[in-house]
């Protein structure tokens, strides 16, 4: 026998204190108050009519005390959550709660949790480890820890809208715990069958199923959602690919889908492709939230809707000073991604050094050779210092014939970064000299486009965002500078999206969707006949706790009855 809430010594100490406290209260209660009343003689006469039996009178208070003590101790013991400690086990047990998208249906997570709790209670504490599914399996209960902690830690667990990581965790040997001892291991799995499909038992590690989610036979889901530049050629618009399938893999009819922008239902121009996929044509690429959902939801809601934050392809407003190089002005005017405006409306300005023109805006400043380095990048006050080589590469400057530039200007070509109030790029005017050849090169419009986009901090082009995959940034494909927020947070160039929903990357908001074809199809499939779920050993409810509370309640009832009958002091 052990206690979940308190150690044994604390339970005993608490019981002794409780007994002493109740005894003190009983003594205090036995202190009778004096009441002066003229009819005291009549009261005495009434009390003498049926006097208490001597034995009962002598022990009446003790009996009352023992009854109260029994009730108090029962409640105290119930509060300490006693449990019968399971026997020693020769194998290690790893319990894995796969709270991924497979458990989002009905009350699957609650049932999986109940089965997990019951199995954990009936397992040798020294041989059990509990893990929770996630990008990296998170230990919920270490060997020897109290199962009450598990209950509390599970309170905040919700099913994650992401594919299962169970197979990945097993393959990468993330599930170690007590099994590091070299003993045979039993892995108990609680989740959707598809999550454990690729995991097989080995000589030292046996897989058993503690709970498997029930299939949703009529499941349908959105399995693809992505944006690409509009085929119509309109730079400010995008085409959106939508694919929704049923349990048999066939496309869902268009009229079974609903579309919305920024939370409001919209009617869209849809083109159905022969393969059943849908193209929503010429959606305005303004950074809004585009969502598609099934008109009628089903019992597996994780894949019933998907959303995508559209790229923001509205033209960058650029102001050109009178001293702006003609080559730059020409590149800006010819590029539909830019719109020439007055300085007060501009996001970015182009001017020569010393000109008083849009000084409070990010600027491409043309300087004279010798005044400073050939390329000076000024980064904003709230930004980290950019990596110089990455900055040069992202703006396409690597393609500039720096040797030609050095020869023309007879100066050493160098680059530097500086902190400032806002972004800025300062470049020698020699670079824009028509005789230098760079303005005529094919890289020149790319250089201008990327530089001005970097200065305007234009949002990146993210074609889709799928939970359980790395973020895809296609800014390079569309003449945009790589987004600093993604670059700052990426690990080895990858930024993992762990679950569906809105992800924030700095101040960049990305709508991540499940859109997993395998998951949608698996949710509709029944568990194979050869996969057997191990029934829970022992009671699924805390019988001992319930028993103690019920006995305490009965004793309380008895005490109340005795009080009513006047048999209790």
């Amino acid at each position: 026998m052990s206690f979940l809430s308190l150690p044994l010594w604390a339970v005993i100490a608490g019981a002794v204190c409780l007994a002493a406290l109740l005894f003190g209260l009983q003594v205090l209660k036995a202190r009778q108050k004096h009441v002066r009343i003229a009819a005291a003689g009549l009261w005495a006469q009434a009390a003498r009519v049926t006097p208490l039996r001597v034995f009962r009178q002598r022990f009446q208070r003790w009996l009352a005390y023992l009854l109260i003590l029994a009730i108090g101790l029962l409640l105290w013991a119930a509060g300490a959550r006693p449990e019968i400690t399971p026997g020693r086990d020769a194998v290690d047990h790893i319990f894995y709660l796969d709270a991924s998208a497979g458990l989002t249906g009905r009350d699957d997570l609650a049932q999986a949790r109940r089965a997990l709790m019951a199995d954990v209670r009936n397992t040798d504490p020294a041989r059990r480890t509990v893990y929770l599914d996630g990008p990296v399996a998170a230990p919920l209960l270490q060997p020897g820890e109290n199962p009450a902690l598990l209950s509390r830690r599970l309170d905040g667990v919700r099913a994650r809208l992401a594919p299962s990581s169970f197979a990945h965790a097993v393959a990468n040997q993330e599930l170690t715990g007590a099994s590091a001892s070299g003993r045979p291991t039993v892995v108990h799995y609680y989740g959707a069958w598809s999550g454990a499909r690729d995991v097989t038992s080995t000589a030292g590690q046996r897989l058993v199923y503690g709970y498997l989610a029930r299939p949703t036979l009529d499941n349908r889901g959105v399995v693809a959602l992505g944006a690409s530049p509009a085929a119509s050629g309109d730079a400010g618009r995008a085409d959106i690919l939508v694919e929704a399938i049923g349990a048999d893999g066939r496309p869902v009819p268009t009229d079974a889908l609903r579309f919305s922008r920024d939370g409001r239902d919209v009617v869209v121009d849809i083109l159905a492709r022969p393969d059943g996929k849908l193209i929503v044509r010429d959606a305005v690429a303004d950074g809004g939230l585009f969502a598609v959902r099934l008109a009628r939801s089903d019992a597996f809601p994780a894949d019933d809707q998907a959303s995508l934050r559209l790229p923001d392809r509205r033209p960058v407003r650029v102001a050109l000073s009178s001293g702006a190089p003609a080559a730059v002005a020409r590149a800006v005017r010819l590029n539909p991604a830019f719109a020439v405006t007055a300085p007060k409306d501009a996001q970015v300005v182009v001017r020569r050094a010393g000109e008083r023109f849009g000084e409070d805006r990010p600027a491409l400043v043309v300087t004279q050779a010798g005044e400073q380095s050939a390329f000076v990048f000024t980064y904003g006050a709230d930004e980290a210092e950019p990596d110089l080589s990455a900055a040069l590469a992202s703006l396409g400057i690597s393609a500039v014939e720096t040797q030609t530039l050095a020869r023309t200007t007879r100066r050493e070509v160098s680059a530097e970064t500086r902190p400032g109030q806002q972004r800025g790029v300062a470049v020698w005017s020699a670079l824009f000299d028509e005789r230098g050849g760079f303005p005529a090169a094919s890289e020149f419009p790319v250089f201008v486009s990327r530089t001005l986009s970097w200065l305007a901090d234009t949002p990146p082009w993210i074609p889709y965002a799928q939970a359980g995959t790395d973020l895809t940034d296609q800014s390079d494909l569309y003449g945009l500078a790589a987004d600093r927020r993604i670059a700052d947070r990426a690990l080895n160039g990858d930024l993992f999206l762990d679950q569906a929903g809105e992800a924030r990357i700095g101040d960049l908001r990305v709508a991540v969707s499940l859109t997993d074809r395998t998951l949608t199809l698996d949710a509709a499939r029944a568990v194979p006949a050869d996969v057997i779920v191990t029934p829970v050993q022992g009671p699924t409810v805390d019988l001992l706790f319930i028993l103690l509370v019920v006995i305490a309640g009965l004793l309380l009832l008895l005490e109340w009855r005795l009080q009513q009958r006047g048999a209790m002091a």
Partner: protein, 321 residues
């Protein structure tokens, strides 16, 4: 054979009880407004014993008075003014008219001074004092005599008979000096009073009637009295309905100030029911005695104004016993 019977051990005198209330002072008691309100009231008994002074109560005595009673043959010495000359003219014999003589009625007050009347808040003695003074004022106002016999364990004789309105202040002074004595010995006091052989009149007992000897002994004592009776029972609402007492719950020690050892009881619904039954028997015994004997019985609630309750008692102005 036991030659000598062991004397029962004399119960120890109750220890001095602290916290007993004081009686009403003379100034508080002798309230002219209170007394003026009593002026319309009167006390009447069916027939007082002859032998008293001329007053307002009807008696068997024949003599001077306003009410014609009978004729009798004239004998020497009779008042010539009483001869009925009409009868003489018809019969030729002398007859004199005799009249019913109205005399005074002796009213004897037995006032309880036991400690049980002093232990509560407000104490019952205040109501007892006021009721006694009020009834004494009515008696004196109608030229009856008033005797005051306070009692506790024993009967005391404050004064046997005083009359005249001027003595009301004397009664009030006596009442104001009535502090708590000992226990309630009403049965013994009644036996004592019966042995005094007083002229028949009206005995007014002002008490809570909680006698340790039991209500049966009290009733027996009352039956021995050759007087008309008016019983003034000083009560509180929680006597009959103990749930109204805020402290009557749980384990308590009950004391009435008259016994050394308080009564330890645990208030339970069962005990509460037994007490109510005992109290009902107690009041039934008093009521039954009053009904069969033709005595008056009035309950004065110590927590309510006495004057209002007496007004209800007198009703149309007179109490006839």
């Amino acid at each position: 054979m036991m030659l000598f019977r062991r004397r029962p051990r004399v119960a120890a005198a109750p220890a001095a009880v602290s916290g007993l209330a004081d009686p009403l002072t003379f100034e508080a008691l002798f309230d002219p407004t209170f007394l003026a309100a009593l002026r319309p009231f009167s006390l009447r008994i069916s027939r007082a014993q002859k032998g008293g002074r001329l007053a307002e109560q009807r008696t068997n005595a024949r003599g001077q008075g306003a009410e014609f009673a009978d004729f009798k043959p004239y004998v020497a010495g009779d008042d010539l003014r009483a001869i009925d000359w009409n009868v003489y003219r018809r019969l030729g014999r002398l007859f004199v008219r005799v009249f019913e003589e109205s005399q005074d009625m002796p009213v004897y007050f037995l006032l309880d001074r036991s400690r049980s009347l002093f232990v509560e808040r407000p104490p019952r003695i205040h109501a007892a004092q006021e009721a006694t003074l009020a009834l004494a004022a009515v008696a004196l106002d109608q030229h009856d005599s008033v005797g005051l016999f306070p009692f506790s364990d024993t009967l005391e004789i404050e004064f046997r008979a005083v009359s005249g309105k001027g003595n009301l202040a004397r009664v009030a002074h006596s009442l104001a000096g009535y502090s708590a004595l000992q226990g309630t010995g009403l049965a013994a006091a009644l036996a004592h009073l019966a042995g005094l052989r007083l002229r028949q009149g009206l005995v007014i007992v002002v008490s809570d009637f909680f006698d340790e000897a039991g209500i049966e002994s009290v009733v027996r004592g009352l039956e021995q009295l050759p007087h008309r009776l008016l019983l003034v029972q000083i009560v509180k609402a929680y006597d009959a309905d103990p749930e109204r007492h805020p402290d009557l719950s749980g384990d308590i020690l009950l004391e009435d100030g008259e016994h050394a050892q308080p009564t330890s009881v645990t208030i339970t619904p069962d005990l509460m029911a037994r007490y109510k039954a005992a109290y009902r028997r107690f009041t039934d015994a008093l009521s039954e005695f009053a009904r069969t004997r033709g005595a008056g019985l009035v309950q004065i609630d110590a927590d309510k104004p006495v004057r209002d309750q007496l007004s209800a008692l007198f009703g149309d102005g007179a109490v006839k016993l």
